[in-house]
Amino acid sequence: MNVLTAQFFNGLAIGSIYVLLATGFNLLLLVARIIHFAFPVAVVFSMYISWILITLTGNVLAGIAGGIVSAVLINMLTAPMFQHIMNKRESVDINTTMVLSMGLGMIITDILSHTFNQGFPIAFPDTLTGNDKGALISSGLISISRGQILTLAVGVVFVVILFQLLYKSRIGRAFRAIAEDPNEAKLVGIPLLKTGLKSYALTGLLGGVTAVLMSVLLGSASAGLGDQLGHKVLAVSIIAGLGNLTGGLIVGLLLGILEALIQGYFAGSWSNAISFAVMLIVILAKPRGIFGLKLRFQEI
């Protein structure tokens, strides 16, 4: 029972990471109309930037700021590439954005595996993770770390802010209008390009915060982490129904809890495989998601 409770809390923390990543992914899909498969890869790249800055300066704040700035920058720098393809929508389908994103992912992952730390996994210092201070709550086998609490708290706060922004603000209405029908949104005077770029900046910020939270929670990163996260985020989004933000929230949390529970009872390599197998079964049974697609079938 103790293991179950401890893993449940751990699962909530991991789940909130998936929720943030899936929300960013879905936001880009809904507003910018791209399948940004490499979004989690860019997040892992930002983790590496954080690590470099902390190693060089010894300043945790510099690392956090660097990670967030690099995520926003990557998103903004790649935006023109995706926009260039989207401008040719008459002759190019949305899958091309996914292939472009995979190409960008290949480049980033390979650079990470060749350059930083000679290709070896990186470990974040205790000054960032807080591991040296021990568990925040400890009772028997249950041990909840500062990283888990911080990830969960920041994750919840960010999701609430994001949903408030989407459903209560002017820019949120513009995002949702484009998601609903880009042509009608244009007719009522919403600038598609400008709003699209804002979605890149917002998801970049979201990615940067996620990178910092992952650094705190996991305490380490490797070049292959981005690909693995990319697959999981795509799977979460598909199971939830592509573009379905609420569905992404529920499925992301459920996946985190499922993974943590499996990790409590199975060896490392098998635990990942089991969660992938569960996701595969759900996708094979419901290829269009449980909660329904938020995009018309022709668009995807």
């Binding site: 590439m81 292939v99 190409g103 960008l104 290949m106 495989a273 996708i283 269009r288 995807i300």
Partner: protein
């Protein structure tokens, strides 16, 4: 035949086959990466059957191809007409699961893999020449059937699905049946390539069947041109071959180079180097002995590319 030339020719053929196996389902807009998992499964199957049960090469080739086809068919019953992203994630998940099983089950040799797969014939040079003949025979055979498919009613139906699924359905085309057919065919090619690859390398490990492998196949397909089978024939020997002539320090960066090439081609010429219109023009010139003939107007803009 030198060992370098043998590997260059043989692996080029494998990349041609594997890129075609991605090309086929992409005719209806599905990126079917499961073919790499099929390749791994059949490669390991053939290695085990040959080493432990002394199965002859023709039998393992047939069985490996059928194994690929059967797995592909079983999965296609669920995702035959699924959207592209669902097919992509099913492929990735299968690769991940296959890799985990291979790495963790003792009989598959763990992360090191399986070595000493027997030669088809005893002579080393004879074995190489025979393998090259066999591999290119299957490249020719697969290419012949894909070419026939592209020109058939079924091929035109696939093009219509790629452009507009609703129009295709209103014309009486069944996207699920065509999707199932193409995914099964793709998986069969993946299975066949796996067996051939195992006998070419004579040793296989989980590191051979990675996401980088998909990246190379995707680059070959999109740089060559995804709307015809001929683009792959042009791109595979060049793209797979050129890192070999780079300085050793740059060879390790081949995936970055492939990624950059893929991004550049998608930005500048998304339909790839060889387009369907280009192929049609060449065919018209050949058919009408140099008379200037306007190519038939394709049914739509995307199909023409």
């Amino acid at each position: 035949m030198t060992l370098t030339l043998f590997y260059y020719l043989a692996i080029t053929a494998i990349y041609i086959l594997m890129s075609w196996s991605v090309y086929l389902p992409y005719r209806i807009g599905q990126l079917h990466f499961m073919t790499v998992a099929n390749m791994a499964i059949s490669a390991y199957f053939s290695a085990l059957m040959t080493i432990h049960f002394s199965w002859p090469f023709p039998l393992v080739l047939l069985a490996g191809t059928l194994l690929g086809a059967l797995t592909g068919f079983a999965v296609s019953t669920a995702v035959g007409d699924a959207p592209c992203f669902a097919v992509v994630i099913v492929g990735f998940t299968f690769i991940y699961l296959t890799k985990t099983v291979i790495e963790n089950v003792e009989i598959f040799g763990g992360p090191l893999g399986i070595f000493n797969i027997p030669k088809i014939i005893n002579s080393s040079s004879g074995n190489r020449i025979l393998l090259i003949i066999i591999v290119y025979f299957f490249v020719f055979l697969t290419g012949f059937f894909i070419n026939r498919f592209d020109r058939s009613k079924l091929g035109r139906a696939a093009s219509t699905i790629f452009v507009d699924r609703n129009i295709a359905v209103s014309f009486g085309v069944n996207p699920k049946k065509i999707g199932m057919f193409l995914q099964t065919w793709s998986s069969a090619i993946g299975g066949m390539s796996g067996v051939l690859y195992a006998f070419i390398m004579r040793g296989i490990s989980p590191n051979h069947f990675t996401f980088n492998f998909i990246g190379i196949c995707m680059t070959i397909l999109f740089v060559g041109g995804y709307s015809t089978m001929w683009g792959t024939l042009l791109a595979a020997p060049i793209l797979w071959g050129f890192p070999l002539i780079l300085p050793e320090s740059l060879q390790a960066w081949n995936i970055v180079i492939y990624g950059i090439l893929l991004v550049i081609i998608l930005l500048l010429k998304p339909e790839g180097i060889i387009t369907r219109v280009m192929v049609q023009r060449v065919e018209n010139i050949r058919l009408f002995s140099g008379k200037k003939v306007t190519p038939k107007s394709p049914s739509n803009k995307k199909a023409a590319q």
